[in-house]
């Protein structure tokens, strides 16, 4: 009997038992839909995080106080952290900015950061206040939507001016345009708004949209007090090119080791590159995707066992039919083909429906994410579709083998006598 005939018979047979076929398929549908949706969400998360890390700025390096073994972050500690670590200072920043000592370094932007409450006409919001230099904007890829960024004049004059992220502006003004020139209060002190940034979306250090930037010197003197005057929290460094980032990291490390008089391997600072971020997050999302996919795969396996179960019931039920077919001249492989076609068709149908459902789920997740303001798009890859449909067909084939071979090996005499 040819394959097309086997297919036709399988369709006839499954059609004759619609309810049962539907319920059997459901296991595979749920499994495949779960795999598709999970992989889509995982891939989407990865793409979104990779994108936001890229938006931090290319060629970017971060320098923190504290040993690399500790968690990165301002004042982050680990082994040997605490008061023994020498803080980064403005003179460290100047030394790194020296083109002779560190030829791979393009721009250096020191910053101090703290949280503060911003108020305007009764509205208030708490946000990250960063004391920055004019270099900060190019290093972090910040773009001005309106007004200007902090310049040398503001630094020298320790002026009370502020550049707001669009989210912060929205929080206190209700809108992000036409606010340049207004005076707001940060921790009770008046600051004049000189610029508003372009929205960038979430970043690795929290949203840059939800922040306020003031001149470094102003922050140092009036808002964010540190023990020594030239102490800084983070040093943002831009390498000359993306390729020179590792080299820049080496140069910075050497300069700081010299200045802090620490031996190699006992650094009291951490140089973190964008690649480090990417790698870390790719590892995390990769593990997450595999984990989610694995859980979904288990449900696919359960669906396969469901198929086997139903096929076994079906073989028992149709023992007489099998006996009759054998009496009429069906060979073992005809019966085998018939039942294998049925089970793989079941799971293939389940796979196709599952792909559609999974895609819908992923789409819905994307809609919810967009509605809640997250820049997150689940990605349904063709590889995921091919993988899960072929995997489900293979599962149908695999779990169909045992019932089908049981059917094929029935003795015609016994099968015909079966009641």
């Amino acid at each position: 009997m040819s394959f097309s005939q086997a297919l036709l018979e399988a369709i006839e047979s499954l059609n004759g038992n619609k309810m049962r076929s539907g319920l059997t398929v459901l296991g595979i549908v749920i499994g495949v839909a779960a795999v598709i949706a999970m992989l889509a969400v995982g891939n989407g998360a990865q793409a979104s995080i990779t994108g936001s890390i890229s938006s931090i700025g290319t060629n970017l390096l971060f320098v923190f106080k504290g040993s690399p073994d500790g968690p990165p972050g301002p004042g982050g500690g680990g082994r040997g952290s605490g008061n023994n670590d020498r803080p980064l200072t403005l003179s460290d920043a100047e030394a790194i900015a020296d083109p002779l000592a560190a030829p791979s370094v393009e721009i250096v932007a020191p910053a101090i950061q703290g949280n503060g409450t911003i108020t305007f006409a009764g509205e208030n919001t708490t946000t990250t206040i960063s004391g920055v230099t004019p270099n900060y904007a190019p290093v972090r890829n910040l773009e001005i939507a309106e007004g200007e960024f902090i310049n040398e004049e503001h630094i020298l004059g320790r002026m009370s001016v502020v550049v707001l992220g669009p989210e912060t502006a929205n929080a206190i003004f209700g809108h992000a345009d036409g606010i340049v020139g207004e005076t707001i209060r940060i921790e009770g002190q008046p600051f004049r708004v000189i610029g508003v940034l372009v929205a960038k979306g979430g970043g690795a250090f929290g949203s840059e949209d939800n922040s306020a930037y003031i001149p470094f010197t102003t922050a140092q003197a009036r808002l964010i007090k540190r023990t020594s005057l030239d102490e800084i929290d983070v040093l943002f460094v831009q390498a000359t090119t993306a390729e020179s980032v590792p080299q820049a990291a080496d140069e910075i490390s050497n300069i700081l080791r010299q200045r802090h008089r620490t031996p190699i391997g006992d650094d009291d600072f951490t140089v973190f590159t964008q690649q480090d971020f990417l790698q870390t997050f790719e590892t995390i999302t990769g593990v997450l995707t595999i984990f989610l996919g694995g859980i979904a795969g288990i449900s696919l396996l359960v669906g396969g066992i469901g198929i086997m179960n139903i096929m076994l019931v079906s073989v028992t039920e149709r023992t007489r039919e099998i006996g009759l077919r054998k009496a009429l001249g069906a060979r073992k492989k005809d019966i085998l083909l018939q039942f294998l076609t049925e089970s793989s068709l079941l799971s293939l149908i389940g796979g196709v429906i599952g792909v559609i459902f999974g895609w819908l789920i992923a789409f819905a997740v994307g809609q919810v994410a967009t509605a809640t303001g997250n820049n997150f798009v689940p990605i349904v890859g063709t590889d995921a579709i091919l993988l899960s449909t072929s995997f489900s067909a293979i599962i149908g084939l695999f779990f169909g083998i045992y019932p089908a071979s049981r059917a094929a090996n029935l003795e015609p005499v016994e099968a015909l006598r079966y009641e």
Binding site: G16, G329, K332
Partner: protein, 231 residues
Amino acid sequence: MDLVIEARDLRKTYQMGEIIVEALRGVSFTIERGEVVSIMGPSGSGKSTMMNTLGCLDRPTSGDYILDGESVAEMNDDQLASVRNRKVGFVFQSFNLLSRLTALGNVELPLRYAGITEGRRERAQAALEAVGLKDRMLHRPYELSGGQQQRVAVARSLVNNPAIIMADEPTGNLDSKVGKEIMSLLLNLNKDRGTTLIIVTHDPTIAEQTQRVIRLRDGELDPASEIKRKG
């Protein structure tokens, strides 16, 4: 003499747990092409075993069985399947039609397993016409009466032009009037087409209509009822 069946010293033993059952204890006979033969015997006489062996559903434990020139006793499962497909048509007591398929689909089944695609439908239609079911071809078994279902089964048995038709109590599930109709249908087919007909039955009125009766008792030919021949 054109022999379609040649059975020599057929023996069949079954292992039922610890006991070995001898269902056939050395049976020898021949059947000529075009003959109508009935096989009779009380239950336990080896009647079913004989039918399974003659129908190539099962192999004898020992002995020779030559069906239409092919020695069947040593064949493997797939070869047996092929012989059944080409040379044997079955008519069962309980019809054994597939309820999912139409009458036509049921009759087509043996042709499907024979790998015939071209003219399959036409041959199945011709077979159904031959049993008088021209206008019931697209009905499913549950839409047909018992007699009609058995007619479909008869059409199915002859669609592949087999050497023999094995009928196992073909009228057993039918009332006497319809049973007579089926019997005369089978006998007419034998007359018109010359197909050898073997009927397994315990109904003497059926056996009377056949040219010859093979009686079995305890797995052997019953010597008391030697072959009787009708003209």
